[in-house]
Symmetry: D2
Subunit: 284 residues, 4 copies
Amino acid sequence: MRTKSFRNIVKNYKAVFFDAFGVLKNYKGLIPGIQATFEYLERKGIYYYVLTNDSSRSPEELASWYQEKGLKYITTDKILSSGMLAMEFFRTKVTNGNTIAYLGTENSAHYISSAGLKTIAVRDINMDNLEHIESFAFLDDEGFNWNDDLNKTINLLRKKNMTVIVANTDYNYPVNKNDISVAIGALADLVENIIGKNFIRFGKPDAQMFLLAYERTLKDINVKRNEILMVGDTLYTDIIGGNKFGLDTALVLSGNTLPDMANIRISSSGIIPTYVCDSAVIDI
Amino acid sequence: MRTKSFRNIVKNYKAVFFDAFGVLKNYKGLIPGIQATFEYLERKGIYYYVLTNDSSRSPEELASWYQEKGLKYITTDKILSSGMLAMEFFRTKVTNGNTIAYLGTENSAHYISSAGLKTIAVRDINMDNLEHIESFAFLDDEGFNWNDDLNKTINLLRKKNMTVIVANTDYNYPVNKNDISVAIGALADLVENIIGKNFIRFGKPDAQMFLLAYERTLKDINVKRNEILMVGDTLYTDIIGGNKFGLDTALVLSGNTLPDMANIRISSSGIIPTYVCDSAVIDI
Amino acid sequence: MRTKSFRNIVKNYKAVFFDAFGVLKNYKGLIPGIQATFEYLERKGIYYYVLTNDSSRSPEELASWYQEKGLKYITTDKILSSGMLAMEFFRTKVTNGNTIAYLGTENSAHYISSAGLKTIAVRDINMDNLEHIESFAFLDDEGFNWNDDLNKTINLLRKKNMTVIVANTDYNYPVNKNDISVAIGALADLVENIIGKNFIRFGKPDAQMFLLAYERTLKDINVKRNEILMVGDTLYTDIIGGNKFGLDTALVLSGNTLPDMANIRISSSGIIPTYVCDSAVIDI
Amino acid sequence: MRTKSFRNIVKNYKAVFFDAFGVLKNYKGLIPGIQATFEYLERKGIYYYVLTNDSSRSPEELASWYQEKGLKYITTDKILSSGMLAMEFFRTKVTNGNTIAYLGTENSAHYISSAGLKTIAVRDINMDNLEHIESFAFLDDEGFNWNDDLNKTINLLRKKNMTVIVANTDYNYPVNKNDISVAIGALADLVENIIGKNFIRFGKPDAQMFLLAYERTLKDINVKRNEILMVGDTLYTDIIGGNKFGLDTALVLSGNTLPDMANIRISSSGIIPTYVCDSAVIDI
């Protein structure tokens, strides 16, 4: 398929939203040459933000990964994650003093507890004393024993009715060139199917993720939605979500959507990006 | 189940979002006594808006229904509909001069064409000349022959890849005390399942509907999300959508959720409203 | 992909099950040259049967189509249809004297009523007198007004709880080289989703269809399942159903699965036929 | 709801199919008094069989559980399990000398390997040497580390296309009065959703399970389908499956379907048993 020059496209926008995995980085590290893109955006005065379905780490930790790799432009204030939506939800919805049960690493829960909320890992719950547990969060696929804790979660949610948050809607994520790993979104689906209840999900393609980024952008610059470009490698999250929210969209072929499959994926899915580019890299 | 007084609840909020069907009206007309609720809100200086999954009529027409019934408070500027989201989408996304194909009544399309966009009913499409047709809208279950036009829609969307909007996510709607009718959301699902593409849906419980109302509210009053009460009769649209968006929620038992089933519906669905009230009627 | 000679494969089996559409016929008529295949099977003493997801016509009518086209080998006793399963179900399950409501053509119902059962088209039902209506059948997508009769069906099935049969599981069928039409299986799904009940479905890939054919075969010849070859053009019905029932399977590329997509379809679906052949035609 | 006497019903049939869990046994052991039922059936000359969605143990082991509890009537030859269907599938479909990968206990695989087939647990697979692995079986939720082995399974099935069997379609099973546990059927769904392939499932309500029992019955007695009574506690497996296969069905309220919910479950599901009985126990 004929792709367009990312430089020629991006220059027409006031702000850019970047997906992280497959656009800025992959399993090996930073996408080679991506540094130049941000130098270009800085020079042109185009604002940029990173939208990521990630609830395993805080924005600070996500940003420090880029800092360590030498991409100094991606600072904490540039990062908008589905974990932030979950945290904000709990802050307004959970009664003071009550506790949020979770599946995930201690680190993923640390982000919530740093906002003044009490958390408890499923493994540490005493099933005879659920009084103060008011809400539940699926945070990360790591940090717990699936055999034990998924079964315990199911019986906890059958025993006590509470609001359940899934802080990352993804089903899987790549771990190396060939292999993937089950993401917490798929484990949440397993539990939801068995107990027949309705969980609240945060993350692209849901509008709330784009709204978070848009409200963040408005603090920096007065901009309309169609003056923002969403750049992503996945039709089903980045592109359909961006389209629906009223953004223009650029599909890049450096990640999930392979170059020789892009045309067939677009026509079979009916999800049509405004542009298709090889990658988000700009040669200067 | 023990319900709370709507008056005692609503007085603590700066603004209220009302679902329409089952809250303000039913198949017989206005919910008896609902007028007093708006008199109370006016007196207290509480702002109010109506959020409705309706793309069959313009806000003007929806408002005039209330006017005719004598509820003068519901004016055009108070109404936020999924049809408005669809219209806004087309206004920013459809190339100037191009045409939107639709299923629905002429009236439902009139709303789109009044915004300067060209529309064509599926029945009037010449399948050999699709050049200017750029997008597709499911607007209303009435106004077309399902046998002919659903099949024609399927073959149109197979022949030309285009963005498809479903402007009302509902599956059915009540037509009298006992009977329901298939809504356009269910017909869109039928088509989507057969052609295997991904449509864009507008309407509760999706965040974009609540965002539309929130942005409208911010023009009237500076308010945080948790200072707004969402009032609805349906757990799966009004309540879960409101909860997720960060609003407080009141389930009323005057419509879709029957009083003797409310408890079991809440516990089996896992969708927990902030309050449960008999209705939104306030006795003065 | 490298395909095998159908002649070299079929000669090793005692019986063959043929799918109809895409294998023996297409929208234009008989697959050219298919006559020779049956001459070969007759000469070799290999038994053959036709398995079809069709409830719009009786086996007699289905057979007479082949007769008219000059394929004299396909006689009524060779045909096994999902409509036969539905009819057999009603014969054992419906109380004597009671009535079966249906959606479809008069012709499709004639087949049921010829077995001594009373039928009534949805359009003719008096909703105030449902006493003798005991069961419901989705038979054909033609013969009724979808707008009126789908809504009437939904309210009928909400008003009276009864067993519902879907006599053809297909979602769509081809009407010419480019176009498809909604099949009754998809309309049944629409109704099932709205009323939330569980219908009984007959047709490939369900085991009951293969069992019907296997029991028929056993009347002609003593044969084990793995001595039978299922020949079909669709992975999701013919091939997975045949595999599961213990038959060997041959995917032919003369219908639904296009030659240049066969490899990718097999690897992405995980449905692996025993063989792949260009078609079921044998050159003699 | 008014229930019928199991004795008055069962006496009219030539054979009975019993579901195991919730009918003959529960988490505490045998259903009290069930022994008398089999004494009655023996005296009346009514044949009986047990149909169970269980692939964790061989029929021998399943039977010996009943023997140990003192119910001598349930012998190996009376038991028909979904595991038997899986084993039979592999016996006809797997090339001699090739290996079946599995998730489950060693014991569950022992049943397959005792039929002369090679098996390998997912944990023991060398991902660089998949040559002889031809098929895959989901056998039991126990016996493996879900974190490691579900991820390994996903990457195995992405790397090599093979036929996948799910030998138990159940989503969960009770472990005590209040708690349930995830069953292998739900874990298989998780994997299937992530890799997007189509697995073959064995177990009620699928016709193949009833066919296995019917063919077994025909070895003992010449009987038509409507002369057999299927007895089960679950509408979605035992009753709808039995109805569809042409059996008469009795729902018992001693397990999954609670007495005070039976009416609402039947009317909301549309799955209508021929009879409803308190239990399968006969007082003599």
